[in-house]
Amino acid sequence: MTWTIIVAAVLVLVLWSFWVSWRASRLDRLHNRVEAARAALDLALVRRASAAADLASSGQLDPATSLLLADAVGRARQAEPPERDLAESDLTRALRATLGAAGVRTELAESDPEGAAELLGAVEKASQQVFIARKFYNDLAGRTIDARRRPLARTLHLSGRARAPEFFEMDDALTHGEG
């Protein structure tokens, strides 16, 4: 009788440890994926700033508009993590204000149709990529945070030294109805 109990207990223990190991590696994968998503978001933000900078220094826009964009790009590029989301939101607002100003797109189209289309297109595409990358990142961050909070993960410290991801909140809606 005792043997049965012992064998059963060992079996349960073995199964349980497999399960814990699986949970740990799932958490590990989540952490890796969220880091990759964060890197993708950072890259998208940098690309957007770059496209905006190209537009600003193209000479196709009036100097006031160019200066507003260049100023916003400069701040977004230089912002350190605590202020990063604010600076990037400001860049979004600057893009909205400048590209949304009456007559901007028509004037660009008239002065240099191909060049203007390329510059504008690059900014719009980059903005869209920021929107998507941020969505994916925040989604993963949320799932990772939830997984870390589960009782098993907490008591057994399954996250190890991995830091909890933070949501990246910013204004990233451009005029075409995204977000």
């Binding site: 000479g59 204000a97 007559g103």
Partner: protein
């Protein structure tokens, strides 16, 4: 002369640059010149006859905060139209380095251009290097004016070269005489403050701290404070027993502001920095108020190094208390300072300042055609 003035900020929003342009325009008109000012404005509000509205200013992030500016092709076209119709002898653009109307005016104009810089602005080298359209617009400026030493650096940073220093004017006649507010200064004496309370650079907390030091020996001494901000927050900085001796008026009308300047025994400018000129201090001088001010460069200049007003160590409440106490106890010295202040501020009266500005206009206009549109 026919003078076209470009204003980068909304006409109907209170601001130093707008007030400067208003006073300059009126002084020039008084001198017999024809003046037109183009400015962003809400067309529903009534405008003086010399102002041409250029559409509304739009809130946009700039320089670390939200600014209301006018930019874009529509605005540029409005400026072109104004220039074409105006046939000005000279274009006078204010704050040309700000991305708004004045910069656009420099960009579209061809002809004599004078520009006045009001604030010190720094731009990164990268920004200037990557924007030839900005540099070329600014390089078209023939006559450069700065309202302060600090503002002068803006020209140096952006396009190299120097600027003529012509400080802000004060319409002194508006400040000379006024009835004190009822019950002021009162038998125990009064110290006045005027400014945005919540901006720590305005130095209100230094004054409050100094008042704590002064109050025990002077039971009747009161503070008279005006300007926008959270009065309760500041009043609570004082110990409870002193709170009813500090009177906060909030924002006051122009007329009441002048009366306030005549309602105190001592006017205090405790600014800790960031002042390129100190228009409030100059207004107090024009009212003949005995002044105690921090020894920042702007105040040292305007108060003639302590001759037209007492200076104290910036940010030091004990030193402020000492200086204020000296004045409160010495009516003869207060009268002396009052006269010296009135004398010193005469150099900043708008009639004098406008004359200096016209000299700059005349210099750049010599032998040139009127202002037109650049192709």
């Amino acid at each position: 002369m026919r003078i076209g003035i470009a204003c980068p900020y909304s006409w109907d929003v209170p601001g130093g640059v707008q007030q400067h342009i208003r006073d300059l325009a009126e002084a020039l008109i008084e001198m017999g010149h024809e003046v037109s000012v183009i400015a962003p404005a809400d067309e529903d509000r009534p405008l003086p006859p010399y102002v041409v509205p250029a559409g509304r200013a739009v809130p946009v992030p700039y320089n670390g905060s939200v600014a209301r500016l006018a930019f874009g092709p529509l605005t540029a076209n409005r400026v072109r139209r104004w220039l074409r119709d105006g046939e000005f002898d000279v274009l006078h653009a204010h704050e040309p380095a700000v991305p708004s109307l004045s910069l656009l005016a420099c960009w579209v104009a061809a002809g004599p251009i004078v520009a006045t810089v009001h604030t010190a602005m720094r731009k990164s080298r990268w920004l200037l290097a990557s924007m030839p359209v900005l540099r070329s617009a600014l390089e078209k400026i023939d006559g450069r004016i700065a309202v302060s030493e600090a503002a002068r650096s803006t020209f140096v940073e952006h396009v190299g070269g120097d600027a003529v220093l012509i400080p802000n004017g004060v319409a002194t006649h508006r400040y000379r005489e006024a009835a004190p507010l009822d019950g002021w200064p009162g038998a125990g004496g009064a110290i006045g403050f005027l400014g945005r309370m919540d901006e720590s650079r305005k130095g209100l907390s230094v004054l409050l701290r100094a008042f704590e030091l002064l109050a025990p020996e002077r039971p009747g001494l009161r503070l008279l404070i005006a300007g926008n901000g959270d009065a309760d927050e500041h009043r609570d900085k004082l110990p409870e027993r002193l709170r009813d001796r500090a009177v906060f008026l909030g924002e006051v009308s122009e007329a009441d502001k002048v009366r306030l300047l005549h309602s105190v025994d001592v006017f205090c400018s405790p600014n800790t920095g960031g002042e390129s000129f100190g228009i409030v201090t100059a207004e107090a001088m024009a009212a003949g108020a005995p002044i105690v001010a921090s020894d920042i460069p702007a105040f040292r200049d305007v108060l003639r190094d302590g001759q037209a007003g007492e200076l104290f160590a910036t940010g030091d409440p004990a030193d402020l208390a000492r200086a204020a106490a000296r004045l409160l106890d010495d009516p003869a010295r207060r009268a002396e300072l009052s006269l010296a202040a009135l004398d010193a501020v005469a150099a900043y009266d708008w009639s004098v300042v406008a004359g200096n500005v016209v000299s700059v206009y005349e210099t750049v206009v010599l032998g040139r055609a009127t202002v037109g549109i650049a192709e």
